[in-house]
């Protein structure tokens, strides 16, 4: 039966991978008229962006839920995305839209990731080194911070010059159509680097999901792994927020779908499943949107709607622990 479960995990994973591949091929080819040498690079850039976002959101959510031992709170719900929003607002507020647009996007991106990283490390170092070991308190603090960031940026946005505000709004709304290709290269590099670090500590993830005490008893340096994973999460969140803006419930949706679909809790299977499901949702969704609805609606709205419903359903089912 153990082997059956292993086999059914692999089969499920292969089915998900096949659907993801189909979605990718559909995205690249359907409705392509004219010169392929134009169509393929044009769509390829967009596909790469979607894949990077899917990967970042899926990995950051699953790892975050592993180290915090819950299945309902995600980096996005904890306010990481809102911090990114606040940073953007602060920039436009302080420098004005014209000056902000003039800065090299790549430079700005590095600065933003640095700030996100510093924030998460300061917050968690302070909390983990003190007497406070309660993750629930930590999560509560995160939710409060999220609200603070959102309120602060809301306040600043009311003070901003209306012309600047239009520019800002354009940057903040999640949009899978207006991905900045300049950012792609550096985002891809960041994601590859972070993944390499993640791979080195991959063997600890299953043990981390057993909870702090069991993990320590089994010889895992719980504090070091927690810090490392939080740093990785900060990088992944920055990448996805920079490419498409804040997406609140998407991570929750794909992570929990992966937990439900996979018959095992092992990260070896759950992580790839979450990534592939995210690719299916984003790439498949974008294809349907472009070809069926002819850009009538924004993909993020559809995904957030589904994710939000799922969140409420999950709360009502009593899975929030």
């Amino acid at each position: 039966m153990r082997h059956e479960r292993k086999r059914s995990s692999i089969v499920t994973l292969m089915v998900i991978a096949a659907v993801a591949a189909t979605a990718t091929i559909a995205f690249m080819t359907i409705g392509a008229r004219g010169n392929w040498s134009f169509v393929l690079p044009f769509r390829g850039v967009k596909l790469l962006a979607l894949a990077l976002v899917a990967y970042s959101i899926a990995v950051s959510t699953v790892l975050f839920q592993t180290i915090t031992n819950n299945r309902i709170l995600t980096p996005a719900i904890m306010g990481f995305d809102w911090l990114y929003m606040l940073l953007q607002t602060l920039l436009v507020f302080g420098l004005g839209a014209a000056a902000t647009s003039a800065i090299d996007v790549r430079l700005m991106f590095v600065v933003e990731i640095g700030t996100m990283l510093a924030f998460s490390l300061v917050l968690y170092r302070f909390l983990f080194s003190g007497a406070v070991r309660d993750l629930h308190l930590l999560l509560l603090i995160g939710v409060v911070f999220g609200t603070l960031f959102r309120s602060l940026s809301g306040f600043l946005q009311r003070l901003i010059d209306p012309n600047d505000f239009v520019v800002l709004q354009d940057r903040l709304f999640a949009s899978f159509n207006a991905v900045d290709p300049n950012l792609l290269m550096i985002s891809a590099l960041m994601v590859v680097g972070a993944s390499a670090v993640g791979l080195r500590i991959f063997h600890t993830f299953d043990v981390m999901s057993l909870g702090r005490e069991t993990a320590i008893s089994l010889g895992v340096d719980h504090r070091r792994i927690t810090m490392t994973v939080l740093a990785l999460v900060a990088i992944f969140v920055s990448v996805s927020a920079a490419l498409v803006g804040p997406v609140t419930f998407f991570g929750l949706l794909v992570a929990n779908l992966a937990y439900i679909l996979m018959p095992t809790a092992k990260h070896r299977y759950v992580l790839p499943a979450a990534i592939l499901l995210a690719v299916i949702c984003l790439v498949g969704g974008q294809t349907i949107l472009e070809r069926v609805f002819a850009f009538d609606t924004a993909l993020s709205i559809v995904i957030e709607f589904a994710g939000g419903l799922f969140f409420i359903f999950y709360l009502l089912r009593g899975h929030a622990r």
């Binding site: 299945r71 999901s209 057993l210 909870g211 702090r212 005490e213 320590i216 010889g219 809790a265 622990r321």
Partner: protein, 252 residues
């Protein structure tokens, strides 16, 4: 041998464990008893490095638990806490297999597989190996966690109230099993117990904690006496000898 000296834990203005110094003998079962809030579990957690000591040091076979790498310690000392809540959906076999992590880092070898099978058999879980933990009764789940600790195969095994959730048959079975592990494989078992009679009948050494301090220690014969128990718990006790064991009667 586990030695600790001057071990102290303070939460705010409350000193939970106050300057405790003791040596736990190698081999056999050592029970820690005492009233609620005496600091038993906190002391056990500090020995197992789950909570850092505010003052004092804990040495396991001469290794300082605060400085030694987690990996090294995980092959010498294991702990099972009281409430083991888990978000991941695991089978009994998966859980027990985690006991081999300090040796194999998640890549289960044939040798690990043998350990897992032995641990499952030891706790009578052979038929439940493929069941999910959330499908089990409290007692079965408790036994699965104990199997994981056995599978970790450490010289020192620490249990915080291992008899929780167990009915009388399984509670007695658990204490006998720990006693066998101590005798047959030379393991050192440290348990926090609430029932003084379990401590009296199955342990080789008893440590009594009161108000965060080490109150008394000694053999069951020395500790299970009406005066000492009355001083410890603050209620009347009558101790009788039954079949070679000292039994405390406190239903007054």
């Amino acid at each position: 041998m586990i030695e600790f000296s001057g071990v102290t834990k303070v939460y705010g203005s409350t000193t939970v464990v106050d300057d405790v110094t003791a040596q736990l003998p190698k081999g056999g079962i050592t029970s820690i008893i005492g009233p609620n809030g005496a600091g038993k579990s906190t002391l056990l957690s500090m020995i197992a490095r789950l909570i850092p000591c505010d003052r004092g040091t804990v040495l396991v076979d001469g290794l300082d638990v605060a400085r030694t790498s987690g990996e090294t310690l995980a092959r010498r000392l294991s702990i099972l806490r009281q409430d083991n809540h888990m978000t991941a959906r695991l089978t009994v076999h998966d859980l027990v297999a985690f006991g081999r992590y300090p040796y194999s880092r998640g890549r289960i070898t044939a040798d690990d597989q043998a350990h897992i099978g032995r641990a499952l058999g030891y706790l009578g879980l052979n038929d439940l190996g493929d069941r999910f933990l959330d499908e089990l009764s409290g007692g079965q789940r408790q036994r699965a966690f104990v199997a994981m600790v056995l599978c970790q195969d450490t010289d020192y095994m620490l249990f915080d109230e291992p008899l929780n959730n167990l009915d009388i048959r399984h509670a007695v079975g658990m204490m006998k099993l720990l006693g066998n592990a101590a005798r047959d494989f030379g393991k050192t078992v440290v348990v926090v117990l609430h029932d003084v009679n379990f401590a009296s009948c199955y342990s080789n050494h008893i440590i009594v904690m009161r108000d965060g301090k080490l109150f008394l220690q000694g053999s069951p014969r020395e500790i299970i006496r009406s005066e000492t128990l009355e001083q410890t718990y603050g209620c009347p006790f009558e101790v009788q000898e039954l079949g070679g064991n000292r039994i405390a009667v406190y239903y007054t």
